[in-house]
Every structure is written in C-alpha cells, then in structure tokens.
C-alpha cells in the first residue's frame, strides 16, 4: 500500500500509526543495536515498507507500556545528518516535518565518542532527545567503563544504560520516555559550537539568510549545513534567497571551503567535554577478542580461506536441508494439491482446471518452493551481519570487487546468487551506495543459479556425453567472465566510472541475537511472498494463458506462434523454433526448459528426449543453446524482486533488455565460432 505514494519530493506523508498516540523516533548510527531495540519494543507489531519514492527500508510499529500505546519509527541508520545519501535526508526530514514527540538516540557504549557524533547533530533539532546507551555488555567486555549518570549530568538530557540483546534497561528507557512526555524531566543541553576560528563566518552566514529560511528548518541549523557544504540545503537556499544574497553566500562558502572540518571539530570538542569524566578506557595493550578474531578474519589470505569455509558451510546447509525440503514441497505439497484439484475440477471446462492448476498453483508453487532456500540464505546473511563478520568479508574481498567499480560489500550478495538470484538481489541492501547497489543488482543474474545449473546438468550430458563436465565448467567460467566484463563496462557507461570510496566501520564482534535474525528472516520472507509473490503469480497466469490460447493446446498456442515468429532471431544463434520456445518458457522458471522440450518433442520419458535432442541438433546449436540458457532474461521471481528492490520499472526493463542483448550476442558468437571451428 505504501507503494502508491509515488512521491518524488522530500516531504514524508503522515504516518498511518499516528492517531493521538505519542510518536517516538529511533535514531542512531549503524552497528549500535538500533534494530535490536526496535524489534524488542515492537515484536511482531511492526510494518516494513519503503520510504516513499526511495529504496530505503522503512520500519514502523507500535508498543504498549503502562496502558498507553506508542508509535515507533525506526529511522535509517546514519553516521551524521549531512546529506551524503537518501538515509540522512530521510532521518532529518522526518524529525523536522513529522515532529516526533521524542527522539531516542541509540549510541554504542563501546565506541561512545564516535556514536555521540549523531547526538551532537540531533540536539540541534527541535525535538526532545533521550540517549539509549546501548551495548553496555560489549563495552565492559572491551574493558571500557561508562558512568551513565556522569554522562547524563554533562549532556543535560536523560541517558539510559542498556543492553538490548539481553533486554536489560528497556523498562527504564520506557519509564524515562513517559516521564519526558509528561514534562517531568528537563531536556536542555548546551549545544555544540563551531570551532572558534569559524564563529564569525557562521554568524555572517546566519545574518545573510535570516528571514529567508523556509519552514520547518531552524535558521541556525541551515547556516551550519551551508557551511558543511550539504548539497540538499545548499540547493534549497539557492531557491529561497534573492539573487544578491545567494551570491554573497556562494562567495563566503567558496572562501571557507574548510568550514566542514571546523563544524565537525566543534562537535567532537563538545563530545570530548561530555565523555571526559564519564568514560574509563582500558590500558593500552589489552587484546580484545575482536583483535584476536581479526588476526585471521582480515588477513589477506587467511581471511579469504575463512570466507570460503563459511560460504561452503552455507551451501552445504542449502543442499542438505534446503534442496530436499524444496523437492518435498514441490512434489508433495504443490504436486499433491495440483492432482487433487485436477480431479476435483474434472467436470468443469478445461480452461478453469488449466487456469487453477497450471496457472495459479504453478505460480504459487514457484513462490512456495523458493522459500526453504530463501530462509536459509536470509538466516545465514542475518547471522553474518549481526555478528559483525559481514564487514570483514567485504574487507577481504574489496580488492577483487574494485576491478568492477564495486565495493567489497557487493561480494556476498553476488555469491549468494549461485544458490538463487532472488536472495542475492534482496541481499544487496547491505550496500550503502546507490550506484554500487544498482550495479550489483544489474549484474547479479549473471551468476548461474542452481535452477540453471540443473538445466545444464540435464542437457550437457545429452548433447556432449563424456565432455559434459568440461562444457559445464566452461559455461560457468563464461558467465563469470561476462559478469566481470559487463560490471566494468556498465560502471563506465551508466555510472560514469564512479567509484564509491571504501570507508567502512569494522564493528566489534558480538554474539548474534536470535530475535533480530528471526525477525529479519520473517520480514524478508514475508515481503518476498507478498510483493514478489503477486508479481510471480500474475506472470505465471499470463504465460499459461498464452500457452493455451486460442485452441487449447501448446502446439498451436500464441506462445508457440510467438516462438515461430521470433525464430529468425533464433537462427542467428542456430536455434530452431522449438529451442526458441523452450527458451521463452524458461522465464517463469528456468527448469521449464526441459519440460517444454518434452512437450514439443512429444515425448515424456527423459531418456528418449536426450536421444532425440542429440539426433536433432548439431554441436554448434547445442553449445549455443546452453550458452543462451545460462545468460537469458532472469526468471520471473528474479525480475519481480529487481522491480521490488529498485522500485523502478525503468531499471527492471533495463535489466531485461541487457540480458536479451547479452544472451543473443553471446549465443550468436558461440554458434558461429563453433561452425567456424567445425565442432
């Protein structure tokens, strides 16, 4: 439902949950346990969607305390509130426009100085702030001791020590929230000031813009953001100021392009004053377990071996637990249901049975049988992220990924693609730069998934006998080669060679929180079933309709007519109309290739099919067909999540077009090369 708000402006529509109940916003940097706290407070009373017009995840929910209901919004995790990416803009626009009754700033006690940086920004906005001093256990483990009362006295706003993973401190946090709402607590802090040498410039800026700052922005705050070079605010003020004032601001900012550092230094000076008395640091030389694990996990070679081991384990789990479960669901649940429905509907017209059994159940079956593998991947992904290992995997893979203009963080989602492209594309959410994320989404379907490998595993022995293994390996290598090539090229063409800087926090390791991971798996699976599921179902029905109209059999259907019409294109690749149709039907699910061939060759036992294929097609055609199958348009589940994750049909169509071009080009080249070499 939130999809309907195709709102391109930065304003954020009023929440659904806000009906007279107090609204609380959770703010915090990444890796401070903000999501854990959000999950703890709301449980399953939460809704996950996207921020309007953005691809950033939006989570909101409600909880009850002391017979009162509260609305809770999880703002995107950001290190600051300066517009580097959509996340910062969303967080600050929400606080300024929606005016939450309280902002709970979650900070990490183990890296207090750094995580208070966001608090130094939050206290300048017009909403009461409460500091949730989280991860006290991790801090103690690192030998860092934080005196929360001292910090509270220094800050002048409430500070609640807590360990969200062990649910300690949440009751006290809720109590403080209630007291603040009742006006029983003072909420005043001395605000950070710009470094002394830039005070005059800040004053001058404030004077120039005075009277021209649009609502709801505070004047002083806008002046600071201008000095910080914030792109959004600069743009806003260029529109709001009369020309000569705009010029004056431009000149001033140009002369003081180091003002950003002065503003930031001012904030850290404020932080240092706050934490000086409150934090007792460990003596130098103490070795924490993060250091011990990192000796291996971030080692240039050891780290790669560890990563390979972990990924091997994930795939082992997928194949020993996921695949059998997937088979069981496919044959027993979906198959059983189809049989039962077929018998039940036998007295009705054939089209009703076909529509329900082949169209709807077929589509729903595709969604359901995907689930076991998705759950395993989401859980593994959640575990790696929650423990802090994900950053290490990105770190050791950074060099290799950079060749494609990608970030180390792109590696894991891409690798997941070997299992299934769907979680791979959903997994790109860990990549924080939008160009890098979209580039990863575009090339992710080039990673051959298990379904495509299954098709190859059937066809390669049929066509090539003893050379099947060699052919299969060559196909995988070819896919990888094309992945690297298209990644490099797309980065140059579409993203103008933009290279996102590699600056990434390496969080301390901590024990995973089952609740956080469980909810992540639940939400991702649910959003896949709800959003992608409906798209898949619609496509399955459409494909079925095309395969029976107008006469009720595949042989004379529109689908086959289309295949015959497209056969000239197929001929470039050495494919006849039957192979072309098989290729087209691989869109609902890649496994369909074999089933379609079975129907078109009028044979059901697979052994016969293999013999007929060998007899019918030349080596060149067979080779070309396998290459095209590997590189063709991703399956409709993948297309559906590409649409869901990019939130744009434009990117989705670009992706489809890209794979059409790549597969046809590669197929033609391989076919003609094979003919030339007289294979």
């Amino acid at each position: 439902m939130s999809d309907c708000h195709a709102d391109s402006s930065t304003s954020i529509p009023v929440l659904i949950v806000r009906e007279k109940m107090p609204l609380i916003a959770l703010a915090g940097q990444p890796n401070v346990g903000k999501s854990t706290l959000f999950n703890l407070l709301t449980g399953l009373n939460q809704h996950v969607g996207n921020w309007p017009g953005k691809t950033v995840e939006r989570r909101e929910g409600s909880f009850t305390f002391d017979d009162h209901q509260f609305g809770l919004v999880d703002l995107p995790g950001t290190y600051s509130l300066t517009a580097n990416s959509p996340e910062e803009v969303i967080a600050r626009e929400f606080i300024l426009r929606e005016q939450p009754d309280i902002v709970v700033a979650v900070v990490n006690a183990a890296s207090l100085e750094r995580s208070l940086y966001l608090v130094a920004e939050l206290v300048t906005l017009p909403a009461p702030v409460i500091v949730a001093l989280n991860m006290m256990d991790v801090a103690e483990h690192e030998g860092i001791h934080v005196e929360s009362e001292v910090l509270e006295a220094a800050l002048g706003i409430p500070v609640v020590p807590m360990t969200a993973t062990r649910t300690t401190g949440t009751h006290e946090l809720l109590r403080i929230i209630c007291k603040t709402l009742d006006g029983d607590l003072s909420n005043h802090t001395r605000q950070p000031e710009i470094r002394a040498d830039h005070l005059a410039i800040l004053k001058e800026t404030s004077q120039i813009i005075a009277g021209y700052v649009p609502d709801p922005y505070p004047g002083e705050w806008v002046a600071l953001k201008l000095l910080e070079g914030d792109a959004e605010i600069t743009h806003l003020m260029q529109g709001a100021l009369p020309e000569e004032k705009g010029q004056a601001i431009n000149n001033l900012l140009r002369q003081h392009d180091d003002a950003l550092l002065a503003v930031a230094s001012g904030r850290y000076e404020w932080i240092e004053r706050m934490v000086r008395a409150a934090v007792v640091r460990p003596k130098k030389g103490q070795i924490s377990w993060t250091n011990q694990i990192d000796v291996l996990a971030t080692h240039p070679i050891g780290g790669l071996l560890l990563l390979a081991g972990i990924l091997g384990l994930v795939f082992w789990l997928t194949f020993t637990v996921g695949s059998p479960l997937q088979n069981w669901l496919d044959t027993r649940l979906v198959g059983g249901l189809s049989n039962w429905m077929s018998q039940l509907l036998v007295v009705y017209p054939f089209w009703l049975k076909g529509l329900i059994v082949d169209g709807i159940l077929g589509g729903a079956g595709a969604v359901i049988t995907f689930l076991p593998i998705m759950v395993i991947f989401f859980a593994a992904f959640g575990l790696l992220e929650d423990t802090g290992y994900m950053a290490r995997a990105a770190y050791v893979m950074d060099n290799l990924m950079h060749m494609m203009g990608l970030h180390g963080k792109s590696f894991l989602p891409l690798f997941l693609g070997f299992g299934c492209n769907v979680p791979a594309i959903m997994g790109t959410r860990v990549i924080d730069s939008k160009p890098a994320r979209f580039l990863t989404i575009l090339i992710a379907p080039l990673v051959p998934c298990t379904a495509r490998m299954a098709v190859v595993a059937f066809l390669a022995p049929a066509f090539f006998g003893p050379k099947a293994l060699l052919v299969s390996w060559s196909l995988i290598l070819l896919s990888m080669l094309i992945l690297v090539l298209s990644g490099t090229l797309l980065n140059k063409i579409i993203f103008k060679g933009q290279r996102s800087a590699f600056i990434m926090e390496m969080p301390l390791y901590h024990l995973p929180n089952i609740r956080t991971i469980g909810l992540l798996v639940w939400q991702r699976s649910l959003s896949f079933i709800k959003k992608a599921g409906s798209t898949i179902l619609a496509m399955a029905v459409a494909v079925w309709v095309l395969s029976v109209l107008p006469n009720g059999d595949l042989g004379s259907s529109y689908l086959v007519q289309f295949g015959k019409w497209a056969a000239p294109v197929g001929q470039w690749m050495g494919l006849d109309w039957r192979l072309t149709v098989a290729l087209i039907t691989s869109f609902p699910a890649k496994e369909n290739v074999i089933a379609t061939m079975g129907v078109l060759f009028g044979s059901s036992p697979n052994a016969d099919l293999a013999q007929m294929l060998t007899a019918t097609y030349s080596t060149a055609s067979a080779l070309s067909f396998l290459v095209v199958t590997m590189l063709f348009i991703p399956c409709m589940a993948t297309v559906a999540v590409i649409r869901q994750e990019t939130n744009s049909w434009g990117w989705t169509l670009l992706s489809i077009g890209l794979f059409l071009v790549i597969s046809i080009a590669a197929g033609s080249i391989v076919y003609h090369l094979a003919l030339f070499l007289r294979l």
Binding site: S80, E113, I144, G229, A264, D398, A501, I503, M506
Partner: protein, 81 residues
C-alpha cells in the same frame, strides 16, 4: 621527540599518528568526518599489509579504509626517542 609528515597509508602497524589534514572531496570528507576523522585526532594503525585496504582505530572505533583513501590523509607520525 621528532615529528614527520607522511600519508596515513605509510604508517606501520601498531604506530600512532596525528591527523594533519585531508582533502578528499566533499562527500568523502563528510564520511570521514562522521566516522571520527578530524584534524588533530590521534589515530592508531591496526592493520596494514602494505597493499590493499587497511584498518585504523580512531576515537575508539575501528574503520577500514581503501589505500587510495588513506593516501590522501596526511598524518604526523610520532617517533619516540
């Protein structure tokens, strides 16, 4: 105690230095600043194999940097005598 200015990428493991300045373009500077990098701050080299990315500790938090990013940060190395 003598001081010497080098790029952060050249700082060996387990040595400390103070950031003198960095100019990495607005977006990158913003990101560095929000992760704790400011002129005058003390920085610890946690991992540096001489090639590839490196890890530093700044304001009590570990941050990974690409070599290219680290090359643009000028630090003052402290060598105790």
């Amino acid at each position: 105690m003598s001081v010497k200015q080098i790029s952060l990428a050249e700082l060996p493991v387990d040595e400390q230095a103070t950031i003198v300045h960095f100019s990495n373009g607005l977006a990158e500077t913003n990101r560095l600043v929000s992760l704790g990098f400011t002129p005058g701050v003390e920085i610890d080299m946690t991992q540096n194999y001489g090639r590839g990315p490196l890890i530093v500790t700044v304001r009590g938090a570990r941050v990974a940097l690409g070599r290219r990013e680290a090359n643009k940060i000028i630090v003052e190395r402290r060598t105790e005598k």
